[in-house]
């Protein structure tokens, strides 16, 4: 009877223990069930939403309280603003996780009938863990290509964009067609809105495009939804109308222009008869107007030498010359004299018809006589030297006047035959250089030439003047031909040049 008692006691004890354990485990299970489950963080473009699941046994509403802490700071736990004593099963921690380079831990406190349960999230760094995208994609078709425009999504941070945070972003494109799928990546952008072209596509084919954006330290991304477009066919068909129209327009304009020109007479289709006046042009080259031959009369040249007069001039001028200092004035006067001499001489040569044969240069008296006689007998006029007049003008005066002045002057005049080759010319300033003959002229005769030419004077001997020895004024030598001296007319002239 005692032994069965003894057997019951351990059994009872065990049973009791079992009951205790059962209730305890039961309680544990209920507590586990009742506690919130699966704390997850959904973060997209820096919008962070913490969500959880409620426990099974929810007879009494459960209140939740969320706290968070920034790991890299020295601060303590903080309460999430909108998630204190909430019955919702999520919490928006966007504003709380404002330092995106930091790491955060979220703590969920659930107040149930069974007690308070804590659940913490793992370390969360918005910079590294938030999902980027999806970007906004726009497609336009082109022949054998697609033009893609991508706009980055907005960020749930104050006055910030994805480029502000990450500086540079990588984007990859997925192109799908009916038979194949292709992904292109390793492209970088630092713009909020950018575009690019997908080339080497088939014509007239349907393609679907998706774009994803990632950062160097954040590989989480949400790609954009597939957008489909059909690539264009070749440009020929559609654009063919434009060249045709432009060609037609150009030809029309040309036609109008041609018609206008024709009407205006600028273009002639038929060649009309030539006017009579123009008919002669054909024969013009043949019918050269031959002028009447010039009547040439032989004139005997008479040398009339108004020697005294000239010499007087020479003397006067010499005196003047000696008195004056300037070279130029000397030269001028000399030239003047020479000019006068020559002119008078020339004139006398050309215009005096009465021939006086100048036999010898020495017979001056003879010449005077001759001149005197000539003066009386001459029908022609003699040229007169006017003292005060510019020697460029030699006038024809009536013989009476000439006779008056000339006769007296001519008393001392003589007629000379001078061989020009023996005549010496020199610049009075310089010493005699016997080698300088008339053939090689001096500077005086330069202006002489100008003088003579002015008056229709055929200054043969002086046309060809060598300027090479001219001092001061001209640096360059004027090349003149060697004077061709004709003895007949020049000998007397050269006589007066000589000083």
């Amino acid at each position: 009877m005692s032994t069965p008692m003894y057997n019951c006691v351990p059994f009872a004890f065990l049973f009791e223990c079992f009951l205790i354990l059962a209730t305890f485990s039961f309680n544990l299970e209920t507590s586990l069930i009742n506690s919130p489950q699966k704390l997850t963080m959904n973060s997209q473009n820096f919008q962070h939403i913490l969500s959880w699941e409620a426990g099974n046994n929810t007879t009494v509403p459960t209140y939740y309280h969320v706290q968070y802490i920034a790991l890299s700071s020295k601060k303590e736990w903080k309460d999430a603003e909108e998630c204190s004593n909430t019955t919702r099963l999520f919490c928006n921690l966007t504003k709380e996780y404002d330092d995106y380079e930091n790491s955060y831990i979220a703590l969920l406190k659930s107040f149930t009938e069974h007690g308070v349960f804590n659940l913490s999230s793992p370390d969360f760094s918005p910079y590294r863990a938030t999902y980027l995208g999806p970007p906004i994609v726009n497609l336009t078709a082109c022949p054998g290509c697609i033009n893609v425009t991508v706009k980055l999504p907005a960020v749930y941070l104050k006055e910030k964009s994805l480029i502000d945070i990450y500086k540079k972003l990588d984007y990859s494109t997925t192109v799908e067609s009916s038979d194949r799928k292709e992904k292109t990546s390793a492209n970088e952008t630092s713009e909020e809105c950018f575009s690019y072209v997908i080339r080497s596509l088939r014509l007239n084919t349907n393609y679907c495009v998706s774009v994803a954006v990632t950062a160097s330290l954040n590989s989480h991304s949400i790609p954009s939804a597939l957008k489909c477009i059909i690539t264009k066919s070749t440009t020929r068909k559609g654009d063919g109308t434009i060249p045709i129209l432009s060609g037609g327009l150009v030809s029309f304009v040309l036609g109008v222009l041609l018609i206008g020109l024709y009407k205006g007479g600028f273009i002639c289709l038929k060649s009309g008869p030539w006017p009579k006046v123009l008919e002669t042009t054909n024969t013009l080259h043949c019918s050269v107007h031959v002028p009447d031959p010039e009547i040439v009369c032989s004139v005997q040249i008479i040398h009339k030498e108004i020697i005294k007069k000239e010499w007087e001039y020479c003397d006067d001028d010499d005196d003047d010359d000696s008195g004056s200092d300037s070279e130029n004035s000397d030269e001028y006067t000399k030239r003047g004299i020479l000019g006068r001499i020559v002119n008078s001489h020339a004139k006398s040569n050309t215009f005096v018809q009465q021939s006086i044969d100048c036999a010898s240069a020495e017979s001056s008296s003879q010449a005077i006589k001759l001149l005197d006689s000539d003066a009386e007998n001459s029908e022609e006029d003699q040229s007169v030297i006017k003292e005060n007049e510019s020697t460029s003008k030699v006038l024809f005066h009536p013989s009476s006047e000439v006779n008056h002045s000339s006769t007296s002057d001519l008393r001392n005049s003589a007629c000379f035959n001078i061989n020009l080759s023996t005549v010496m010319l020199r610049d009075p300033e310089k010493t005699w250089d016997e080698s300088t003959t008339l053939v090689t002229h001096q500077e005086d005769e330069v202006d002489l030439q100008d003088y003579c030419a002015f008056e229709e004077f055929e200054s043969k001997p002086f046309t060809n003047i060598d300027y090479s020895k001219r001092p001061d004024c001209h640096n360059s030598s004027h090349e003149w031909q060697k004077p061709s001296v004709s003895d007949e007319s020049d000998t007397s002239d050269s006589e007066y040049i000589r000083r």
Binding site: I69, L71, K74, S103, I105, D123, S125, R128, K167, S216
Partner: protein, 188 residues
């Protein structure tokens, strides 16, 4: 005999070609990729931050590295070099108390070492240029700041006797260093 000498010779050629193929113009791309990998290894080393270590955060008195005035583009390479070398030195210390994943630690260390090597190849050509550069003062200033920061890190670890919490706090700081490295790499 030819075969014996040929093998090391070819190996040497292979290795030298790898180093000589380094394109210094594209160094920023390579560095960026390596930064990302290193940071992944760092995060894989350990689990979530232990709650018990939260109180010890206040013991770490260094200035925020992200707030350090960073060098301009010309000095970015030198700054990157300095940071990487300091990190390598830190992770060569006693990590037993940290109780982290050994493989991840090794991978992290190798990654840092490679980054240092590759950068040195491209940096050596520019050292002479930088010493005469007028921005030399800012380079020194940045260098001093970085040196001071890492000195504080080493001191903190030593003080805490390389405890787990100390390492976890330093691990957080190192992850922030990589954000700085990333910014600097983009400037190259």
């Amino acid at each position: 005999m030819i075969n014996r000498s040929l093998l090391p010779f070819s190996l040497m050629l292979l290795l030298s070609s790898e180093t000589s193929c380094l394109d210094c113009n594209r160094i920023h791309v390579l560095q960026s990729k390596m930064n990302s990998k290193s940071l992944e290894h760092l995060e894989k080393m350990g689990g979530p931050f232990p709650f018990q270590c939260l109180n010890e955060r206040s013991a770490f008195k260094a200035t925020d590295i992200l707030k350090v005035r960073l060098a301009q583009q010309e000095n970015a390479k030198a700054a990157i070099q300095q940071i990487l070398q300091e990190l390598f030195q830190i992770f060569s210390k006693n990590l037993t108390h940290a109780a982290w994943d050994g493989t991840s630690i090794k991978e992290f260390q190798n990654g840092i070492h490679q980054q240092i090597e590759k950068l040195e190849v491209c940096l050596s050509a520019e050292v002479e240029k930088e010493t005469t550069y007028p921005g030399n003062e800012s380079l020194l200033h940045t260098s001093l700041k970085l040196r001071r920061y890492f000195q504080t890190v080493r001191h903190f670890l030593k003080e805490k006797q390389y405890s787990r919490c100390a390492w976890e706090i330093i691990r957080l700081e190192v992850s922030r260093c990589f954000l700085v490295l990333n910014i600097l790499t983009k400037r190259i």
